[in-house]
């Protein structure tokens, strides 16, 4: 059963401040963005009957905000979780399980205020088969396939660095971005090595912040028109591959990207050529390269040159990560919420670095280290045909 264009994002907001916010807990960042998103939708908190979140329990978020939900979704598969929450909300709303779903994110990734401690389990599969080899967080695992990709497809260090350069060009026009100064390939390659072949400027920021979305039926969005144009959910997808990067089937491609995006495009009835604006979760500079290929925007081995030639930069044919991305805008830890926020802004024509005539935007999220993926194809009323 297709749920194409049967639901819409009617409210969206980030926390008032992002970046370094040491005076707010993670939970309050969920709550502040929730209040702002509900107001953005022209709704009251009492209209919300479904709550979805990752990181914290939706029970905690709902009770903190005084919501008595009849639908809760705690799907937690890493930074793409919020894209899956949109997919699940669309299905639940369409099935009549609830009417207004609030999806929240808040993470004190930098200041670590009100954050649960990280615990390692030496008996888990990663604890037995990866941790003994000195893994320490995403930089020591996520880029595992990059050298293989370089050997297979001839990607150069300069092309990889150009991903950070292209996104900084977008960030220059985004006042909320943490880093906005122009960057050259030489600057990137001169920054210190974090995990060869990745330099500091090819790794995401670590920030504080939050965001929230309000999803409801297209019918209700039309009947109770809010202050902002609805952003229609045209197609969605989700997939998972492996909790351990070392078990990836192909180190030059994400199976979860391929599966989730194929599902989303099929449901939306569109393909890469129809897309006006693209967000690809960029925890590290190689992710947009994998994303462009796995989603079918370019052929295998072509993405590095495509980005280096400026096709994804301002003025290029495929505007990509127009907020500056995790590399320049913000990256709280589970960055996926910010992909959707920027897609919504672009479709409402209210982005800082606004692209002309955006009718279809795709957000591609990743969870863990290529562990999971979620894809949303979002569109304006014109694209939805409503």
């Amino acid at each position: 059963m297709s749920v194409r264009a049967k639901t819409a994002i009617v409210g969206a907001s980030e926390t008032t401040r992002i970046g370094v916010v040491p005076d707010m807990s993670a939970l309050e960042m969920h709550a502040e963005s929730a209040r702002l998103a509900v107001a953005d939708a022209g709704l009251k908190m009492s209209d919300v009957d479904g709550v979805a979140t990752a990181g914290l329990s939706p029970v905690s978020v709902a009770q903190y905000l005084g919501i008595d939900p009849i639908y809760v979704d705690a799907t937690t598969v890493g930074g793409c979780s919020f894209l899956l929450h949109v997919r699940h909300a669309a299905a639940a709303i369409n099935a009549g399980m609830c009417e207004v779903v609030l999806i929240t994110h808040g993470e004190s990734g930098r200041s670590r205020v009100g954050m649960p401690p990280r615990v390692a389990d030496p008996s888990s599969p990663p604890g037995q088969f990866e941790a003994p080899y000195g893994t320490l967080g995403p930089p020591t695992m996520f880029p595992m396939g990059v050298l293989r990709y370089m050997k297979e497809f001839g990607l150069t260090h300069e092309q990889l660095a150009s991903v950070a350069v292209a996104q900084r060009k977008w960030a220059a026009n985004v006042p909320r971005a943490m880093f906005r100064d122009p960057l050259t390939v030489e600057d990137v390659l001169a920054s210190r090595l974090i995990a060869y072949p990745m330099h500091l400027l090819e790794c995401c920021l670590v920030t504080d912040g939050g965001g929230a979305l309000v999803v409801t039926s297209a019918e209700r969005a039309k009947a109770l028109a809010g202050p902002k144009p609805p952003v229609y959910v045209l197609g969605t997808g989700e997939a998972s591959e492996t909790p351990m990067v070392s078990m990836m089937e192909d180190f030059t491609s994400s199976k979860a990207f391929r599966l989730s995006s194929a599902s989303a495009f099929a449901e939306a009835g569109v393909g890469p050529k129809d897309v006006d604006h693209l967000m690809v979760y960029d925890a590290f500079a190689h992710l947009p390269i994998y994303g462009l290929e796995d989603l079918g925007f370019v052929g295998r081995g072509e993405a590095g040159a495509f980005i280096a030639e400026g096709h994804t930069s301002p003025g290029g044919s495929l505007p990509l990560n127009t907020n500056g991305g995790g590399l320049s805008y913000t990256h709280t830890g589970m960055y996926g919420m910010f992909l959707v926020q920027e897609s919504v802004r672009q479709l409402r024509s209210e982005a800082s670095a606004q692209v002309a005539d955006v009718n279809i935007s795709v957000a591609q999220g990743v969870g863990g280290m290529f562990a999971a993926a979620g894809t949303l194809v979002l569109g304006t009323a014109a694209a939805a045909g409503v």
Partner: protein, 143 residues
């Protein structure tokens, strides 16, 4: 906590589960044990009682030859607990002669991009780790 505790951290010690115990018993004996499916014939890693390729539970433990090739790696400049004296060090994925891949460290060779060439031939070695023994890989002997 003594002031020196930070510099004397131990490397992580894997904790076997009932499903992986046979693997970790093998490493203590200098054997790299993997599993092969009797149904579809494929070898696989990491240890579990059913084949990830065809779901069959008709699987057998086999001793891997220990021969492998360097499939991919990165060189970490941030020490994990116990790795302070080794930075920068490579975290690698090798492809065993039997087909499966596994994460490992590379020993007996400088951990530099120049010395670590993808697809170079490697062989297993074992590094004592707490009450366990962890398989690592070194350049294959010329024999």
């Amino acid at each position: 906590m003594s002031p020196t505790s930070d510099t004397h951290q131990h490397k992580p010690v894997p904790k076997p589960t009932p499903e992986t115990e046979h693997y970790w018993e093998g490493t203590k004996l200098g054997e790299l044990r993997i599993q092969r499916c009797n149904e579809c014939g494929q070898a696989y890693f990491y240890p579990r009682p059913s084949c990830p390729h065809c779901s069959s539970t008709d699987v057998t433990w086999v001793r891997a030859s220990g021969q492998a090739r360097l499939h991919t790696y990165l060189i970490s400049h941030r020490p994990a607990p116990g790795f302070t004296d080794e930075v920068p060090y490579a975290i690698a994925v090798v492809e065993l002669e039997e087909g499966p891949r596994m994460m490992t460290n590379i020993v007996g060779v400088e951990n530099t991009p120049e010395a670590l060439v993808l697809d170079m031939a490697l062989e297993v070695a074992f590094e004592p780790r707490g009450e366990q023994s962890v398989p690592v890989f070194r350049p294959a002997s010329a024999s």
